[in-house]
Symmetry: C2
Subunit: 646 residues, 2 copies
């Protein structure tokens, strides 16, 4: 790692390790091996430019220069025991099944150890301590303004915040830090920002997101990176203590604020996604906002892999056992799969309401009215309905009527459940688009989150219809000739679909507002989320800044189209970003996917960049025109639209 | 038929025939049977309104009143022979295979009688004389202005026009009519408009399309309907004579004129589509314009059934043996299927050009240059290239080089071939939309013709995403709640796709111009064609007028979006129809699909019609805004776009 860092390779040690292997193994004569490595470097990285080649060459030379022998004693003298695959505190299933798979002994498991129906318990990624980070964030309580931005962007839910009453601090480990909470609603309480040291991957997005830059030392912020090993033990204990602190009272929060939203427990944690992943923060946010009543259909792709990567899953549940119900069907049918969730949930709810009406004479009138008339738009509303359902179930338990037994089996359906369809651009723009269009057109109340990396990320970077003009990908080795498909505009042509484009790194408040509006809209919603990705050829640590530039260049205009506003005679369309202020090239040439073409064919790269710049300008004019058009015509449509009943 | 006509049932004889059957068969006591029939009528047609019920009741009563006995002699005395399944002039395959199937004896055919590979010969529907028409059009040469509109709209290619030199008239049957040709290019020639009496289905669209209304008798036009039986024999002879007249010299035509385009031989004739079908005139036009070099991928649906309805096919060839190559794969993959045609044709052409370059030293330089540099945008250009390919083949035949043999096998690929993807709205809006989107987005040079009946016509009228708000269909028994998907707008969001909406009955010139522009555009084209349909609950004779009203109400705005113009810095968007001038209800309530809902639920019908009217107004505003937007911004884009190379 030291050699890699000093030769400009950052954290990429593959060249260093390869050199060591050939220098020591004797597979080839050393000089011949080194020459072959350098030849391979030129072949693999030549198109990325001479700088990259020279960095790799330097890594080879410096690896050889730093190679030294480690003497292994004949007898082990250490008293450190080999770690068990999972901690002793893990639940039975994790100990008996998951741990066996983690240890690479899954083949020894009998079929009977597998959960019937293939349903796996949630929240198991927490047991798979990977200890990947060389450096982890360390909180500076004095400097911190408690904005929550670092918590929001963390791809692994490995940095968290809580407010809690002072007495809860009792029994805290010695190094556990806290500060007075900066919330009016929690005046007098304490606040802690805590890292999960063994789950953090060291991507540094939290540091990059921190808005508090030290005046005396611009390299320091309110969280700073420090080597993990010396902190591992103490911070692990601190994190354990942090976890057992009480969760926040959600009814006191204003969820549209980043600061408040990040006090909510994430129910998506410690995924196996790439360090610095641009997709996972959106999923985590989804669980913070709606996690205890959400059902998720996940298209095949990165998110289905890191979402259900046997033996563990990052999808988790809260202390009440509530969390997202998650499943992955296929690549091509995810929208239909999720629509099925919606239809069956609605059907169960309708059946429960029907049975409830039939049982009215047997039950308390106020309870029945409460259950049937419940407003569940807020957390408080949902909590109240859950309390009523508990009361109902207790009453039903006392009845022998068959109808009561039947209602007991579906009573939970009286509590709101949201359906989210999640997937990448390969699904939404390409392989699943026919079905997605059908589901959106149906008018059904489902929410769609597209994690747009603009390429088939999980299969190694093939072009999708979301790939931008001029980017080099597999199947577009000469740079994509045609512009990116405008999925948002396509969806907006329907008029009855909530449509938004977001980029958390550019405008986190707009992202959160969008999630809340999509959830609230009683019809189909589509959120297209910019997700930086290793396939872009970018140091992911710079992902948030790159998202800012995507928006500043006009490449990724932020907006929301809310049909609910049109139904009230208001302008449904809001452009949330400003006119382009930097050239597209400034954004694009920070990424290898664009730079590669300059290396290979400067003239063609220039031609495509000029066209891409024109795409941006045309798109911006079009969106501006849309904004004006909707502003001018929205008054004419001030009536309830013909929505399909659920 | 007389009873049906006189009781207002038009040509629908089912009620009359049913009554006769029960009156005679003795299956039930007559009075009981009649009561049951009337009850069934009320049940079946009640929702269409009391008028329809009373018409059917009258048909029952009048059928009984007109029932009389026909005495069948003990011995046959007629000398008329039973017609053979096909005429003796039919070619061998039709005699040996097709005729057997027509006669209902297909099971007797050995497998060896089937064409290897499943490829069937073209132009076989002509042998299946169906003699469906009670009345056929009769031409009035004096009154006719030779506009060609009747020829254009004929769904069965059963009325045709030709210009020819006077000497060609020699040997004409006595009743064969002609008039001086009204074309400057054909001054001194003769003109004939001829009906195919045994292929005509009597739909009367030709009569409805005729613009020449007699001043003395408004019921008479330049073509008029007359009973078929007395005319059958003489007009059959006339049609045979007409067919052998020379075909027009296409290089003298201005194909953008209806008048000229209809002089071209249709290569789609006598299909088994419904009498008065709104789809087939578009297909016929396609073959008149491009038939000798077109390859068609046909999605499953009405057009695949009437297009490849064993034992015969309406797809035909000209005297040179050239005609559309046609195939139907599946419902869902037609766009991909057609893209495959394009890719393989382009690949063959590139291979042929490559071989040609390698053989240059063996061939005449001027010939090679001509072949490689051929402009094939016009009929003349294609004809010239065909002549060059003939010359090339002759030269190659004289060579023993393996490369020459190889080129011989692909030389035909040097002649232009156009690829058209054809299907209904069930394919394009729903089941095949994902693939259609992908193919359009690819930038490949294919042309897509959507025959939009706004419903799954062939399977009996299920809702598609093309179904308009308020229409009653299967799966939308309460009237469709959401508006029609705007496929044209969706496609236009890409920018590089030629997109047009046409309605032949409203503006035939615009339809023809659109076909020519789509064919000329070197990229994907999408034409969405309004097709009236029996599923609309409309007397198809009124189909053309209904198309006019669809446009006049603003429900079906006509427009063309041509990216080729944008590339030249011109405005790519042309609105070809005027602002709405009649209320939507005036158009819609001419059709049972809308009227049915009024009958069933007047309030809901009113609500949906109000919303649908608003849809129309919003759509119109949106298209107007688009027109203004493109007019204002097109100057900024005056450069060649980044089209994908073929």
């Amino acid at each position: 790692y030291k050699v890699a860092r000093e030769t400009g390779m950052s954290r990429r040690v593959n060249t260093v390790m390869q050199t060591c292997f050939f220098a020591l193994s004797g597979v080839l004569p050393k000089d011949e091996a080194i020459a072959a490595i350098k030849q391979a470097i030129r072949k693999s990285y030549g198109k990325r430019g001479e700088t990259v080649v020279q960095q790799n060459f330097a890594a080879v030379d410096q690896a050889l220069a730093h190679l030294y022998e480690v003497h292994v004693p004949a007898l082990a003298t250490s008293h450190t025991l080999l770690r068990t695959p999972v901690a002793p505190a893990a639940p039975g299933f994790v100990q008996e099944v998951t741990a066996m798979m983690i240890a690479g002994r899954g083949d020894e498991l009998p079929v009977s150890a597998m959960p019937p129906g293939g349903t796996f318990p949630l929240g198991t990624a927490q047991w798979e301590k990977r200890n990947l980070a060389l450096e982890i964030p360390v909180w500076d309580p004095e400097r911190c303004i408690q904005c929550g931005k670092c918590v929001l962007v963390c791809p692994h839910a490995a940095i968290r915040e809580k407010v809690y009453p002072t007495p809860a601090l009792e029994g805290a480990p010695e190094t556990f830090k806290s500060a007075p909470a900066r919330w009016r609603a929690f005046a007098g309480d304490l606040y802690t920002l805590q890292t999960a040291p063994e789950d953090c991957t060291g991507c540094a997005l939290c540091f990059e997101a921190c808005p508090v830059v030290s005046k005396s030392d611009p390299a320091r912020r309110a969280i700073n990176l420090a080597p993990q090993p010396p902190l591992r033990e103490s911070e692990s204990a601190n994190f354990d203590f942090f976890l057992q602190l009480p969760e926040v009272d959600r009814t006191k929060l204003n969820l549209s604020l980043v600061k408040d939203s990040q006090l909510c427990q994430p129910l998506f944690e410690f995924s196996g996604a790439c360090s610095g992943c641009g997709e996972t923060p959106y999923l985590k946010l989804l669980t913070q906002l709606f996690g205890d009543h959400v059902v998720i259909a996940n298209a095949t792709g990165c998110s289905s892999i890191f979402g259900g990567n046997l033996p563990t899953t990052p999808w988790a549940h809260n202390r009440d056992g509530r969390g997202p119900a998650w499943a992955n069907s296929l690549f091509e049918d995810n929208a239909e799969f999720g629509l099925g969730f919606r239809l069956s949930i609605d059907h169960q709810a309708a059946y429960a309401r029907d049975l409830l009406a039939r049982l009215r004479s047997e039950l308390d009138d106020a309870l029945v009215d409460g259950l049937l008339g419940a407003g569940q738009a807020t957390d408080a509303g949902i909590q109240a309905q859950r309390a009523r359902v508990r009361e109902l179930k207790a009453a039903l338990q006392r009845s022998d009527l068959p109808v009561a037994r039947e209602l007991l089996s579906v009573a939970d359906a009286l509590v709101k459940r949201s359906v989210w369809l999640v997937g990448g651009d390969g699904w939404a723009y390409d392989i699943g688009y026919g079905g997605l269009d059908h589901v959106l057109a149906s008018g059904a109340n489902v929410n769609v989150l597209v994690l747009d990396t603009e390429v088939y990320s999980n299969t190694g970077g093939q072009m999708s219809k979301a790939t931008p003009r001029g980017a080099v990908t597999r199947f577009a080795a000469g740079g994509k000739a045609l512009p990116k498909k405008d999925l948002a505009l396509l969806a907006m042509t329907y008029g009855h679909i909530y449509v938004a484009r977001v980029a958390m790194g550019a405008n986190d408040s707009q992202t959160i507002r969008t999630f809340l509006e999509a959830e609230a809209y009683d019809g189909p919603s589509l959120i297209i989320a910019y997700a930086h990705c290793i396939e872009h050829g970018l140091d992911l640590r710079l992902g948030l800044g790159q998202q800012k530039n995507a928006v500043a260049s006009g490449y990724w205009p932020l907006f929301r189209y809310n049909p609910a506003l049109a139904q009230q005679g208001k302008n449904p369309f809001t452009l949330d970003s400003k006119a382009p202020s930097i050239p597209l090239a400034q954004y694009a040439y920070a990424e290898d996917r664009y730079k590669m073409l300059v290396q290979r064919d400067r003239a063609e790269a220039g031609r495509l960049m000029e066209l891409a710049q024109r795409d941006v300008e045309n798109r911006w004019r079009q969106y501006q025109d849309l904004a004006q058009f909707f502003a001018a015509t929205s008054h004419a449509n001030g009536k309830a639209d013909g929505k399909l009943a659920p």
